[in-house]
Symmetry: C2
Subunit: 420 residues, 2 copies
């Protein structure tokens, strides 16, 4: 059996640990040189495949690849570029196969979320139709934690740990200031459709460290009256209140609160996010002094505070992807299966992409308390193991030392170009 | 010699390491029981003294006090409450002395920034005039790093480490997304008057890890044309650009940019900060997709990422404050003196409060590059040692475990009350 090359690409929003999956794919492939030749990475994700802009990962030292374990974001570049349906734009898929053929790509590893699971499936299907031998495996990754079948998604645990830690720390700050100054603190977090990250903010509080929290989930329409009552109750009881709000919070008419049409003095639209908006409602109606923070990329790039569980699982799915491919499994994804809560146990199992593509796992209603502003014991049991364990990067001169790869291009073999 | 009690209070905005100073004051006092009786802490800062709401720190175990070393924010509560001048409101000072007398307070330790240095001095002076024997020592603390005489201020190094780390991590994220998505990232940081924290953002980039950065200092009036040119140049050259902006950025007419008069659809004023404002200018004029983050309290509460240097110095000033007091030094502050840059060496020296109160140390112009958007080698040499070293808190179940003290009240001895 001749060794064939592999193609690996990162897709969509990056995470603190997606490079651990990259390291796993490359390291596992290197251990199987009789079957897998070189691992080529797409520069800026799938765009790199379409434009034949490939990176030769064999030019990177074992040490550099190992350093991906502690380096956040996408080492080869990612992209937000959704391939259309095969019927709509068959040329894109044909082009992919053309590039794969030119570089003898026999394995396609696509590291992403819902959209890329769908793309991975379509590429696999079209390759089959075109008679091109290709094994396509999706490597799960999304801070949104909304892939189905898998118990959780690599990338989520680290964001969860970051927002819970940050809210806990901010709560200690607000508690000290509340007597004469800030009484209400708002933290806006990611997760436009599903409230997994918002739920993770709830972990800031526990029995040992109670924190008066009000959570605003994207799944629960914003009810200003009930919300203000909850904030007022907390502030009266505890002296302060912390609010975690999803960027995807919606008004009762289903519109995104953040798109309410804010304008500044220069007429710039959409200046603030929903965090400052919610804070301003509190200030206006309850007259409490407030502060607000928007963590934005900080939350998903915070490798310095990554969850060890998340890191381990990110590596495990990358390794399993290559092992699945070597076992001839096509159009599949390594899913994380939880086998026990306490102590937490998990394993990797094979999931068909047909079961995953184009679906979205929302936060179950029974993870949210009846009043809509908190998390239940069920949510806690789910989230607790995912944020567990620390895996700090090496520090040098006081700062985390992250690797930048050489990203040496593979020589082009095709005379044709492709416009994306 | 009879032992007299000590009073300790935290003042103004809290930090990730102010409790290390508290631990030092209490532990050093406990080692000198023949001279210092009990350490009473003001509940919510100086307000606790005015209202005779004192906390008996002797009720806390040695273990709890030691845990203050890794706990952010103000363990006894802080306050934003500036005492007026002695001539304006003598009654406040008289009341303080009255409470001190009732509880046999012979030592006054005030842990804060500029305002509290001034208060500490005034209390010392009035006690002298009233013939009340009191030794007043100021313990420096401010994330703003703007106290004079001392080379740097406890609390600043940890914020500096946090903003530099966060910007570095976000830069890796933006770099991976820039091809098809976000090209410009804005991080708003604290420091309303002095640009020390903004300068620290500049540490995100170094020779090993270049990051295209544009910094907007409070000391340099915002020049939109020059700013946009700098952002455009970076984006064209590197594919992306990161912007660090001070909350105190001013327009050419000297007004705070953040107070430009933003209004949302509901008519709420001042919704966004200067971070989203700067981001919207980039979007409007350069059409680049942007993201922005406002770290707010997260930056000064981030004990999980504290600087070891900062932690050590915060403890050292607390310890020295008690030692100064025991040596009979009045109206002084332990200052941090830098004796060498490389390797960094520092010592604690005594500074007279008359030299410190009512002054403010701005970022020197030669710390800022000629174009006004970066930091110089001089700034780097100053900042480098302050962010050095890690001192993570203990983690339990994936989250930092911070201590909450019992904060047992001292019985009141006065029949009179005082309204603040």
């Amino acid at each position: 059996m001749t060794a064939r090359n592999a193609f690996y690409a990162q897709s969509g929003g990056v995470t603190a640990v997606i490079n651990a999956s990259a390291a796993a794919v490359i390291e596992t492939a290197r251990k199987n040189k009789s079957r897998i030749g070189k691992v080529y990475a797409g520069r800026n994700g799938i765009i790199g495949a379409l434009t034949e802009d490939l990176i030769d990962t064999s030019k990177e030292s074992a040490r550099a690849i190992a350093a991906l374990m502690h380096t956040p974001a996408g080492a080869f570049g990612s992209c937000r570029y959704k391939l259309k349906g095969v019927d709509e734009d068959r040329a894109q898929y044909v082009r992919l196969i053309e590039v794969f053929k030119a570089h003898d790509i026999g394995y396609f590893f696509y590291n992403g979320g819902n959209d890329s699971a769908d793309t991975c499936l379509k590429v696999s299907q079209l390759a089959g139709k075109m008679g091109y031998p290709l094994i396509a495996v999706h490597v799960p990754k999304t801070v949104d934690n909304d892939l189905v079948v898998t118990d959780n998604c690599p990338g989520f645990g680290s964001v969860a740990k970051y927002v819970a830690t940050s809210m806990r720390e901010a709560a200690f700050d607000v508690a000290s200031m509340a007597k004469t100054s800030t009484k209400v603190f708002v933290l806006e977090v990611m997760g436009r459709n599903a409230g997994w990250i918002t739920a993770a903010v709830g972990m800031a509080a526990d029995e040992e460290t109670p924190v008066p929290l009000v959570l605003l989930f994207p799944e629960i329409a914003f009810d200003e009256t009930k919300f203000l009552a909850a904030v007022e109750r907390n502030t009266q009881t505890f002296g302060y209140c912390c609010i975690g709000v999803s960027e995807g919070l919606k008004s009762p008419d289903g519109k995104l609160m953040a798109e309410a049409g804010t304008k500044d003095a220069f007429g710039h639209a959409q200046l603030g996010g929903v965090g400052p908006l919610v804070a301003s409602i509190v200030k206006e109606k309850l007259k409490y002094k407030h502060h607000w923070a928007v963590a934005d990329y900080l939350q998903r790039a915070a490798r310095h505070l990554a969850s060890k569980t998340d890191l381990d699982q990110s590596y495990a799915v990358g390794k399993a992807a290559v092992e699945f491919a070597l076992a001839g499994k096509n159009a599949v994804m390594p899913a994380i299966i939880r086998t026990a809560d306490k102590p937490y146990r998990w394993k990797i199992a094979e999931a068909a992409l047909t079961e995953i593509a184009n679906r979205e796992k929302m936060l179950p209603r029974n993870f949210i308390t009846a009043d809509g502003f908190g998390i239940t014991a069920k949510a806690r049991a789910y989230l607790a193991p995912l944020i567990k364990g620390e895996a700090p990067p090496p520090f040098k001169d006081g700062l985390p030392r992250y690797v930048r790869l050489k990203n040496v291009p593979v020589g082009k073999k095709l005379a044709t170009t492709f416009k994306v």
